[in-house]
Subunit: 385 residues, 2 copies
C-alpha cells in the first residue's frame, strides 16, 4: 500500500424527507444564496421545498448554471454575493451546480483574478465561503469531495481545482429527488461513477486488498443498479443505491493508498470542451480504448477486474482481458451511452484537434505511470473514432 | 436502505515514517499531554519519536492507561491537565489509550461529575479538548470514531459514551509501529475488527449492497491477513492492510444505512468487567453462540455470509449456516483466540453472574430487533461454557 492522507469532513444526510433537515444544517443567521441549474429544480418543487426548510433566513436565488459550468456564468453569482453580502452557499442540483458553487465559494474573496484559481489548481485558495448541497443527480461525487471542474467558454478550456476549503459542510441526499430525472442523466451518472472507480482501481497492484474490494463493490453495484434505475425509475432502493454508490466512487476513500490514472478524464475533458458532449459520453468513448492501449501495463488489474467484477474465468489471459473490456463497453451501451465518436457525428479529423488541445493544456504525460504521451493519446483517440 | 447521517472529520495520515508529520498536525502553540499505556511505547522508542516530532512545544506525559481503561486512572490525567493548563491531548497507543483519552478530553471541562458522561452516554458533552492519535495497535477503530468505553473498577462497570466532539482531529497510522506487538495483541485486534464488522453486517437485509459488500471486503481481508500478520510480523503490507481494515471496521461507514446488532459486545463487556478477559476474547466466545441462537432472525444474512465470505455453496441452508459459524469459530481459534469460557477457567456458575450484570446495566433488550432478552442472553451464555 502507498502512504496516504485521507480527510473528508462532509456530513452526509441521506434518505427520504431529508430536505427538511436544512433548518438544523444551515446556520440560523445565514444569508443564503441558493444556486441551481435549469428550470427543473423550480418545476419539480425542490427549490420551494428548500426555501420552506430555510424558514425565515434571508434567501436569494442564482439559477442558470449549465452542465459543464461556465466561468462566465459563475462570475455572475460572485457579483451577486458581493453586492448582497451573502455568506452561505447552497447548491441544489448535480455535479455541475456543485462544482460551480465550489468555484464561487473560493472566488468571492479571492485575492486576484478568479480564473487564476483554475490556472493554478487551487493552490492559492486560502479561504472560501461555507457551502452545503442538496443533491438531485447521482453522478459526480462532487457532493462529498473537494474537487471542481469549470469551463471557460471563451477559451474552450475545461480546468479543475481542489481545495480542502471547498468540502461541502453537508450534503443532503434524498433519492426521491432523482425519480423525475431524464433517463439520459441517470445513464450518464452511472457511467460517470463507473469510470471514477476505474480511474482509481484500474492501474497496477500495490497489495491494497480493501481498496480493491471496495472498488469492485462499487462496480458490481453499478452494473446491477444502473439498468434497474432506468427500468423502474421510482424504485426507492435502486435509486438510493445508485446515489450512495456514486458518492462513494469519488470521495477519496477508494483512491487512498493506491495509484490513480485519470487519463480518461483528461482526454474526455478536451472532447467536451471542443464538441460539447456530455462528460459521461466522453468517458464511455475513451475508457474502452484506453484499456485496450494500456492492456500490458494494466494486465494484472485487468485480469482481476475480469474475474471479480465480470466473473470471467475461462480463456487465455488476453481473451479474458478482451472480454472484460467488451463487457465494460456493453454496460455503457446497455444504459444508452454510446461509445464511439462517430455515434455523436464526430469524424477522424477530431483526433488532431483534441491532441492539439491536450498539448496546449500541458497534458503530455498522463496516467498512473505518466507515460501516456501525446502519441499514445493519439492512438487511443484514433481507436475512438 | 435506511435513512442515515454519516460524518467523520478525522484526518488519517497513513504509512511508514508518518510520525514526523506531527509537527504539521499539532498546533504550534499547543501545550500537549501525551497519554500512553504501559512501558512498551517508552521501550520501543515511539514516545521519543513523538516528542522529537513535537519539537519545542510544551509536552508532558501521562502513562499507565491500562487495557479496559479505568475511570480511576484517567481522572489522574484530568487533574494533571487542569493543574498544568495543558490544551492538546495526544494518545499514543491502541484502543484503550485512545478511548481513555476521549474520556479525558470530555471530562476536563465537564460541568458535573465526569462519571456522569458515561452514565448518560455522552449526551451532555458540549465541549472537549482537541486530541490526536498515534495508533500502535490495529484493533478497535477508536482512532477514527467518536466512541469510547471506560471501566469503573470500583463498580465492576464497563460503560460507553459517544460525542462528535471527541473525533480525533487526526490519527497517524504507521504500520511499522505494529511490528513489535505481542502475537496476542495482533490476534485480539483481528478478532475485534472481525466482530465489529459482524455487528454491523450480520442482521437482516435492507437492500444496501454497497454496505454489504464493503463489510464482506473487510471480513475477507481479515481472514487473509490475520494469520499472515502472526506468521510474518515484519511484512509491511500485511500489517498495513490489517491496520487499515481495523480502522474501516468501525469508522461508521459500513454501518451507515443498515441495522446494527452489538449484542455480542454488550454481553462481552460484562464478561470483561467481571472476569478481566481481553475484550476480543469475550467477543470470540460470544459471537459463535449468538449466531447459533439467532440463526432464524439472521438466516438471510448468514446464508449470504456463508456464500460470499466463506465460499460455502453446497448443503442445505442449515448445513451452510452451521458451516459458516464453524468457520468463524475456527478463524478465531486459528489466530490463537480461544472461543469457550472454559478455555479461560470460567465455569457454568458465571452465567448467573453475567446475566445479573446485564440486568443491572439495563441490557434487557439487545440486538437489531431489540428482542435479545435476558432469557436469550442466558441461552447464549450457557452455550458459551
Amino acid at each position: 500500500m502507498l502512504n496516504f492522507d485521507y480527510y473528508n469532513p462532509t456530513r452526509i444526510v441521506f434518505g427520504k424527507d431529508s430536505i427538511a433537515r436544512l433548518d438544523e444544517l444551515v446556520p440560523a443567521d445565514a444569508r443564503v444564496l441558493v444556486l441551481y441549474g435549469g428550470g427543473s429544480a423550480e418545476r419539480n418543487g425542490t427549490l420551494a421545498e428548500v426555501e420552506a426548510a430555510l424558514g425565515a433566513r434571508t434567501v436569494q436565488r442564482f439559477g442558470g448554471i449549465e452542465p459543464n459550468p461556465a466561468y462566465e456564468t459563475l462570475m455572475g453569482a460572485v457579483e451577486q454575493i458581493r453586492r448582497e453580502k451573502l455568506d452561505f452557499l447552497l447548491a441544489v442540483g448535480g455535479g455541475s451546480v456543485i462544482d460551480g458553487t465550489k468555484f464561487v465559494a473560493a472566488a468571492v474573496n479571492y485575492a486576484g483574478e478568479p480564473w487564476n484559481i483554475l490556472e493554478t489548481g487551487g493552490k492559492h485558495v486560502n479561504q472560501a465561503l461555507p457551502m452545503g448541497c442538496v443533491l438531485t443527480l447521482p453522478a459526480t461525487g462532487s457532493e462529498m469531495n473537494c474537487f471542481s471542474v469549470v469551463t471557460r467558454k471563451s477559451l474552450q478550456a475545461k480546468l479543475s481545482f481542489a481545495s480542502p476549503l471547498v468540502f461541502p459542510r453537508f450534503s443532503v441526499l434524498d433519492p426521491v429527488k432523482t425519480f423525475t430525472l431524464p433517463p439520459r442523466q441517470i445513464a450518464n451518472g452511472a457511467v460517470d461513477a463507473f469510470v471514477h472507480v476505474m480511474e482509481q482501481y484500474m492501474t497496477y497492484p500495490v497489495n491494497a486488498p480493501v481498496q480493491d474490494r471496495y472498488a469492485e463493490s462499487l462496480l458490481q453495484t453499478l452494473i446491477e443498479v444502473g439498468p434497474q434505475a432506468l427500468a423502474t425509475p421510482e424504485d426507492y432502493d435502486v435509486r438510493a443505491n445508485l446515489m450512495w454508490t456514486a458518492t462513494q466512487a469519488l470521495n477519496g476513500l477508494i483512491g487512498a493508498g493506491v495509484p490513480q490514472d485519470w487519463a480518461t478524464h483528461m482526454i474526455g475533458h478536451e472532447i467536451t470542451a471542443l464538441y460539447g458532449l456530455d462528460h459521461a459520453q466522453t468517458l464511455a468513448i475513451v475508457l474502452p480504448n484506453l484499456l485496450q492501449q494500456r492492456r500490458d501495463t494494466k494486465r494484472a488489474k485487468l485480469l482481476q477486474f475480469a474475474a471479480r467484477v465480470w466473473d470471467i474465468h475461462s480463456g487465455t489471459e488476453d481473451e479474458r482481458i478482451d472480454a472484460a473490456i467488451a463487457h465494460t463497453r456493453a454496460f455503457f451501451e446497455s444504459v444508452g451511452v454510446k461509445t464511439r465518436l462517430s455515434d455523436y457525428g464526430i469524424g477522424a479529423d477530431a483526433v488532431d484537434r483534441i491532441v492539439a488541445q491536450l498539448e496546449a493544456h500541458g497534458m503530455k504525460k498522463l496516467g498512473e505511470h505518466r507515460d501516456i504521451d501525446l502519441a499514445t493519446s493519439r492512438r487511443i483517440l484514433e481507436a475512438c473514432v
